[in-house]
């Protein structure tokens, strides 16, 4: 194990997969000469050359289409979105081509593409660059959606995504690129898609959270432990396919659940997980499942308003107290 940043873990995964499989290539805006807007592709152009690391014009729909076409004829493209908000420009390519070609060609084509880049709220990136973009994709049949919270997950899941024979949406986070953690250097290390992980064991309530929200839930759990509330935290890691078994298993143990998501709550991941829990574990629930979500509003630029829109440690702790019927929950 080596300690490295989330950014370095992604870079290592790309490097290992570029070495392992000559069909893998990276394409996107400023991935080559500039070494990536967030330096995830640092050193790759020098090591693998311009045929494997391809700089493109500012044309998301175009280079995503190039990637899909290349995937249809057997290559394994990794398409970088400078931020995932820009994937909106490529939505038709992703939704109508990448997600559906395997089905519509009767299995004659498959599209082994990875589309990756940072998404979700960061720090004062304002309304257009702070969106939790996963909601646009996990709704579409044919797309897998990954949200890795730790450096180890970033490496293990990106490698699985590249090796997957179907399209994978892989959304990182600006706020996590400098997070450090242990990462296996073994080039054969992968984490399968569709496996959640219990980040913290507890007995009183299950909190389901990923990315930055997972870290805030951890802080809330530490605080609540002082009040005798034992919080279990489940990180889904892959949102589609969702590992409901791990989530339901945890809820069957704790009998209460809180789902946290950074984006606006309406028809969000929290709604989906809450419904799964209600359908599968109804008789095990001692309280309604609560959601802690971003407000139904565009992300403001002002720091205080940004904080007001986003789930905070305090809001998460409050919801946990409420499902535990503990004092202090409102």
């Amino acid at each position: 194990m080596a300690v490295m940043t989330y950014r370095e873990a992604l870079n290592l995964a790309l490097r290992e997969e570029l070495k392992r499989d000559p069909d893998v290539f990276v394409i996107g805006e400023e991935v080559g000469l500039y070494e990536g807007a967030y330096k995830v592709t640092q050193g790759l152009l020098k090591e693998f050359g311009p045929k494997r690391i391809v700089d493109t014009p500012i044309a998301e729909s175009g280079f995503t289409g190039v990637g899909i076409g290349a995937a249809m004829v057997g290559l394994r493209p990794v398409v970088e979105m400078m931020t995932f908000n820009f994937a909106l420009l490529a939505l038709d390519q992703i939704v109508n081509s990448a997600a559906k070609l395997n089905y519509m060609s009767g299995g004659q084509y498959n599209v082994p593409i990875v589309i990756r880049g940072p998404g979700g709220p960061a720090h004062q990136l304002a309304a257009q660059h702070s969106q939790s973009m996963e909601v646009y994709f996990y709704h579409v049949p044919g797309l897998k959606v990954v949200r890795p919270s730790t450096p180890m997950d970033a490496k293990g899941l990106l490698k699985s995504a590249i090796r997957d024979d179907n399209p994978v949406i892989f959304i990182e986070s600006e706020t996590l690129y400098n997070v450090k953690g242990e990462v296996p250097e073994d080039p054969d290390f992968t984490i399968p898609l569709g496996q959640a992980i219990v980040r913290r064991e507890g007995t009183d309530v299950t909190v389901i959270a990923y990315m930055g929200m997972m870290y805030r839930a951890m802080e809330a759990a530490e605080e609540l432990a002082k009040d005798g509330i034992s919080v279990e935290i489940v990180d889904p890691r892959t949102l589609q396919p969702l590992d409901t078994q791990t989530i339901i298993g945890s809820v069957r143990k704790t009998h209460r659940a809180v789902v946290v998501e950074a984006g606006a709550g309406f028809a969000g991941m929290g709604s989906e997980i809450a419904t799964e829990i209600t359908e599968e574990a109804f008789d095990d629930l001692d309280a309604p499942v609560l959601r802690v979500t971003g407000a139904q509003a565009p992300m403001p630029y002002a720091r205080n308003l940004e904080r007001a829109k986003t789930p905070t440690k305090e809001k998460i702790a409050d919801a946990i107290r409420r499902v535990c019927y503990a004092n202090g929950g409102r």
Partner: protein
Amino acid sequence: MAVTKVVMPKLSEQMESGKVIKWLKKEGDRVQSGDILAEVETDKADVEMEAFGAGVLRKILVPAGSTVPVGSLIGVIAEANDDINSVVGQAGAPAPAAEGGAKAPSDVAAPSGAKPGMADRPLVVPPQPRSEDPAARKPSPSTAPTAPSQTAPRPVETVGSGQRAVVPPSGDGGRVKASPLARKIAAQSGVDLKLIQGSGPGGRIVRRDVEAASTAPAAAAAAAPALRPVTPSVAGPEYEDVALSPMRAAIAKRMPLSKAPVPHFYVTTEVAMDRSWELREDLNGLEGQPKISVNDLIIRACALTLLSHPGVNASFQGDKIRVFHRVHMGIAVALDEGLITPVLRDVHAKPLAQIAVEARDLAERARQRKLRAQELSGATFSISNLGMFDVRDFSAIINPPEGAILAVGSVHKVPVVTDEGLGVGRRMALTISCDHRVMDGAMGAKFLQDVKRLLEEPLRLLV
């Protein structure tokens, strides 16, 4: 800190209102959780109402002698410096009409605010702004939608008589609000949700309430003040917890599926009552002795037999069986409008004459509805006697969490074959209903066999 609302408890499904007989605490008195605040008359009995929270009894909203609907706010417990105006304000018109006709406080249910035909629908009516409050008159679109949520669904902090009182949190026609988990545990442990007070938001019954209730009867029995001096003949702990064997655990799991929540089975025997009948006539011929009934003989016989058959004097507790070392006998008393089962405590330690006196007293007070709450709970076994109705035999329903109940038919004359030829004998049928999670057929049969032996050799009842 915590402001505790004192509300009129609900003691039965039919109970709609209750009368405050007298307050035992006055405004300004400091109270602890569990202190008796007041006596309340209900449709079944007089009940001592315990405080559910600690603090100072700040406000008495309903004077002695007044009748108010179940769930009405009748007092407030809080610390001396707490602001209770909002709580008191929620009570709406705080002066209820004496004897019936009371107006429902707005935080309970407000039929007056409901549309016609919707009176039985769940309703939470936000408190109306008081007209003398100038702030309330200002239209305030931004705060108006949130106002009800700030006041209406506050966690219900209520006062009941400890283990039995139920408060319908929002006057929603008696539907029990319980979490799915609480319902599942209640079904498994035979707890009646209607008898539990919920501690969750809006009075929702949650897991901790059911778990507390499933252990409450024993605790209540131990805590209840003795009505008369009794000398338990068995020293030592009140009960012991026996681990479930794998077979018992399997039976416990399967049986509720066949007859939820308590899987009953029934065993019947016939008792030759000739000698008991003679003994009773002899005893009742003595000067200065209380009259002994056939039922008193049966109570005594069961009490003695239960001591040697502790498995029948037992209660299913979810993951274990609680075996009682003392016998508290529930005696079903028929009333015009139903049935009530007062409890004769430590009956195994009482001679026949004492049983006769106490059973008669309980039955009479049951008919006059003068029983106290603690005389209605904590039974470990019950007897239901329909002999006076010329009933041959019948089966009774177990009263959870008890494990068994004995149904007694009438003593009737039948032709019997004797050594001399054909004669006339007195016979009586006994049917025991047993909780299969606690015991099996052979246990019930052996118990009946020994009851039968005592009644057929009744001098044993006197020694």
